[in-house]
């Protein structure tokens, strides 16, 4: 049985010009694998991730024909059930640790909060939090545990964020552009840590990114989104066999290290893609 199945997911926001649909009928299933979702900004990839966690920001509304996590129908879940799922069985790493960590709370306390919320005693929570900091390859866990978010570099902050989201060993992790705010050199490091932990713990990962090449090297399967719809789904290894003109266009635009392309290829959008 698959870990997560999504059918015909739609996210709608009311606007003055009437409802605006930002996710328009997304369907996919996820096992204990790494699924990449790529798309440009505004394509609905982040909204898809948040809708799965039931965190569509107000006044948006998410509907689906089927939204099932490990046999639980998420569409029927009440606030209490959501709280017991979030943080314990499913969680999400967000883009920029500068904003996603509470600035006035020490990192360790925020880490422990994940466990304490779900009933772990204090002393054990502290022990596991420190172990988790070590697992994300932080050299001085005690110091980082006591530190405030602004005292950490971007890379350290994002590792702390990953630690916070994995400390309770969830089954599903959504990583929403987890490396976009980091330096290129640190991106690879953080990705390796994420990759290792996901593989070790055998969890399902949804990796949201706008970086096609990164996603294809990191994930097993890729969904390509455009204007709120999945336009193509393929195995990461088969990326060069992409059929959809949008994916092909994107692939053509990737710079090649050998070969001088002039003029630089551009993406010609077709109205038909949004239909």
């Amino acid at each position: 049985m698959s870990l997560l199945s999504v059918e015909n997911l739609r996210v709608t926001y009311p606007t003055r010009q009437g409802p605006a649909e930002v996710v328009r009928g997304v369907s996919f299933t996820l096992g204990r694998e790494r699924l990449g979702i790529v798309g440009e900004s505004g394509s609905g990839k982040s909204q898809t991730g948040r809708a799965i966690l039931g965190l569509t920001p107000k006044p948006g509304v998410a509907t689906a024909d089927r939204l099932e996590f490990d046999g639980i129908d998420l569409r029927q879940a009440d606030a209490r059930q959501w709280r017991s799922l979030r943080g314990r069985r499913m969680s999400m790493v967000m883009q920029d640790p500068k904003f996603s960590l509470n600035p006035v709370m020490p990192v360790g306390k925020q880490l422990m909060e994940t466990l304490r919320t779900h009933g772990t005693p204090r002393s054990e929570a502290k022990k596991r939090a420190l172990e988790m900091l070590e697992a994300v390859q932080i050299r001085d866990p005690e110091r980082v545990f006591r530190a405030y978010p602004h005292e950490l570099s971007g890379g350290m902050g994002q590792r702390a964020m990953i630690a916070m989201m994995l400390v309770s060993a969830p089954d599903l992790l959504i990583a929403d552009e987890p490396t976009s705010a980091l330096d290129v050199t640190i991106q690879i490091e953080v990705l390796r840590i994420l990759d290792k932990l996901v593989a070790e713990r055998g969890m399902g990962l949804i990796f949201i990114s706008h970086d096609l090449r990164l996603v294809s090297s990191f994930c097993d399967r890729v969904l390509v989104m455009y204007a709120g719809q999945v336009v193509e789904e393929l195995r990461a290894a088969d990326l060069h066999n992409a059929r959809h003109p949008y994916t092909q266009g994107l692939l053509n635009c990737l710079p090649k290290i050998d070969g001088d392309q002039r003029p630089l290829p551009t993406l010609n959008r077709d109205e038909a893609w949004t239909k």
Binding site: L55, L85, R86, D96, F99, S100, T117, Y148
Partner: protein
């Protein structure tokens, strides 16, 4: 080990530097304050000599006092003399009460302090939760209610509310005692030490007098509390709305943290940083002595004293009172800066 001691030494130096800068800032502020009050005292069309001798004094007496007051000397020398006096705690004699200004202020200020403190406590205890409630239920009826109540509190004239309050709760319902700080019957039931009647009576176990004083203070304090609540709840609402839209709130939700904890621990802890300044400045505003409230409730406080002095051209009293108010503002600003340091780790570790 040497590494840590070295670090500690450096941090000590940073603190020292910070402290020195603080002292300098305060000194400069006070100098400016003294200069301004001094100049105001010279600019207002009040003849200080006439205030002393009266307008029927012969020319010889007038001239003698003119020289006694140092008015024949150049302005900067007068300012220098003024500075020297202020530093020895000598603000001069009140022409009205014939007593040192310092004694007068020591007598009236506790009344204002007591009223303002009870007022700001009411304003904070009601205003902060009301603002949070409005922010959490944004756009729903609690939000509208808090906003309308705030608007009324902000725009209704306070003396009118005071008179209305006296009419309803004192004259008609007899729920509270009337104007003044305490009934005559209780006035000698305790020995005034701090001048704060609630404090003095409670310390001396005079609960009857305490209850009477409380019954006197509760109406004007609630009024001031309502006034400051209007501002505090508005600011709390907007600070909380800003914090609740932050990414770390989403992070907390992703962790499964219950909503009450997100609001009261995560968001409020961040909103508290700017909120401290708002509350401190509201408090300073109340400590100025609100003239209208003190007049309506016959409250012998700083506001009434200053108005009375001003109307009787008692410039020494006015200048002394202005200095005290200035000092309160500087002091409360310092206090809120210190609290900033406690509440916000980003400020704390910055030199």
């Amino acid at each position: 080990m040497t590494g840590t001691t070295h670090l500690r030494g450096r941090r000590g130096a940073l603190w020292l530097g910070k402290f020195a800068r603080l002292v300098l800032t305060v000194a400069v502020t006070f100098f400016g304050l003294l200069l301004v009050t001094f100049l105001i005292g010279r600019i207002v069309p009040v003849d200080p000599v006439l205030a002393v001798v009266g307008d029927r004094a012969p020319k010889s007496v007038y001239d003698r006092v003119y020289i006694e007051l140092g008015l024949d000397k150049p302005l900067w020398e007068q300012f220098w003399m003024y500075l020297q006096k202020v530093f020895t705690g000598d603000f001069g004699i009140s022409f009205l009460s014939k007593r040192p200004i310092v004694d007068d202020i020591a007598r009236v200020f506790p009344a204002t302090l007591e009223l303002a403190t009870v007022g700001i406590i009411i304003g904070t205890v009601v205003g902060v939760p009301a603002g949070i409630w409005a922010a959490v239920r944004q756009g729903k009826w609690p939000d509208q209610l808090v906003r309308v109540l705030g608007l009324v509190g902000y725009s209704a004239p306070i003396f009118w509310l005071g008179l209305l309050g006296l009419l309803v709760f004192y004259a008609k319902l007899h729920w509270v005692a009337g104007p003044g700080r305490i009934d005559i019957a209780y006035e000698y039931a305790f020995t005034p030490k701090t001048g704060l009647i609630l404090w003095d009576t409670a310390m001396q176990g005079q609960w009857g007098a305490f209850a009477n004083a409380f019954s006197h203070i509760i109406l004007p304090a609630s009024l001031l509390g309502y006034f400051s609540m209007a501002y505090i709840s508005r600011m709390t609402r907007s600070f909380m709305l800003a914090e609740l839209a932050q990414e770390y709130v989403t992070t907390a939700r992703v962790k499964g943290v219950p909503e009450w904890r997100i609001v009261w621990v995560h968001a409020l802890r961040n909103a508290a940083v700017p909120l401290v300044t708002v509350i401190a400045l509201s408090y300073a505003g109340l400590l100025e002595g609100s003239v209208l409230t003190e007049t309506v409730f016959a409250w012998p406080g700083l506001g009434q004293y200053l108005t009375n002095s001003l109307q009787n051209a008692d410039m020494n009293a006015v200048l002394g009172g202005t200095l005290v108010i200035g000092a309160i503002f500087v002091g409360l600003n310092l206090l809120s800066d210190l609290l900033y340091n406690v509440l916000d780790p980003r400020v704390r570790r910055r030199a």
